[in-house]
Amino acid sequence: MKNSHLLEEEIQAIVFEQKDFSGLNEHVQYCNRCKNSIEAYKLMFKDLEDFPQPMFDFHVQAPVKMYSQKIIRNHFHFPIFLTALLGFLGLSFGVISYLSNNKSVKLESTWLSTWLVICTGGILLTVLVIDVVISYEKKIKALNRIFMQH
């Protein structure tokens, strides 16, 4: 049996690490100081998880909402911008060539219109496909980085 009092480390180890020190336990049975120290710790930390949980009395997400809205507003998507520009130019040329055809200006407008429609359509489709592929790859890359790490 241990004759001197338990060290503070030993007392805490008995209470919090659930360690069993047979020699120490024997001392505790006969020593008021050590017994009370152990009891004091047990009482203090008993049911501590039932303590009232601190709560925030403000809206924690407010800046996040403002930030996400700003992102949506400032989102300049180049492929979509390019698509819109090409669409606009294609349509303008189409209209001009149609009008010039009507006014019998000597311009091979029917030929020009057909090729403009085909080229504009082709370019628009290519740009859209590239955009979809790029954003898909970006997403896959981000997910891989997060979930494939071990």
């Binding site: 100081r33 009891e39 924690v60």
Partner: protein, 194 residues
Amino acid sequence: MEDQELVKRLLNGDNSAFTLLVKNTEGLVAQIVFKMVDSLEDRRDLVQDVYLNAYKYIRNFKSNSKLSTWVGSIAYHACYNYLKKKKLLLPEKQLEDENEDVLETMTNRFIDHSSSEIMEYIIKKELRSVLQIGIDQLPPIYATLIALYHFQEMSYQEISEITSLPEGTLKNYLFRARKKLKDYVVLNYKKEDL
């Protein structure tokens, strides 16, 4: 919902997933911020910054830790830097109290002479409020460790991830924090009684 599913939804820009993340981590973040920062206004700014950073940098989250631990770590380091900036952080040496031996002798003397009275007192005299004041008087890092280990029931490994403290240092700080708390409760009992 699992962390992975939640992150997937966040990366897809699902804002309801972020509300869920806040709901899942608010308690932990509150424990850290309330223990480390006293000013109500600074608490609000810090917490809002914590969640803004979590939102911005969710791509940096690594699946080998829990999402709550990751957010907790952002909160802890934000508060730590705040304390450092305000010069409210005790240097490591001062955390190891010089008066510890004197306090221990006093506490033991009281325990020796009070036998079971102190236990009755602890139960009778609203232990909760005594403890609450005792915790509030601890150095911020000690109070946070007590909250994470005893209130949130987190493991040493999780707390180590949040605070970036090595497990050995963490156990040593927790030991000192509990001891300081016990000294506070015991000594305050005697002061009132005299």
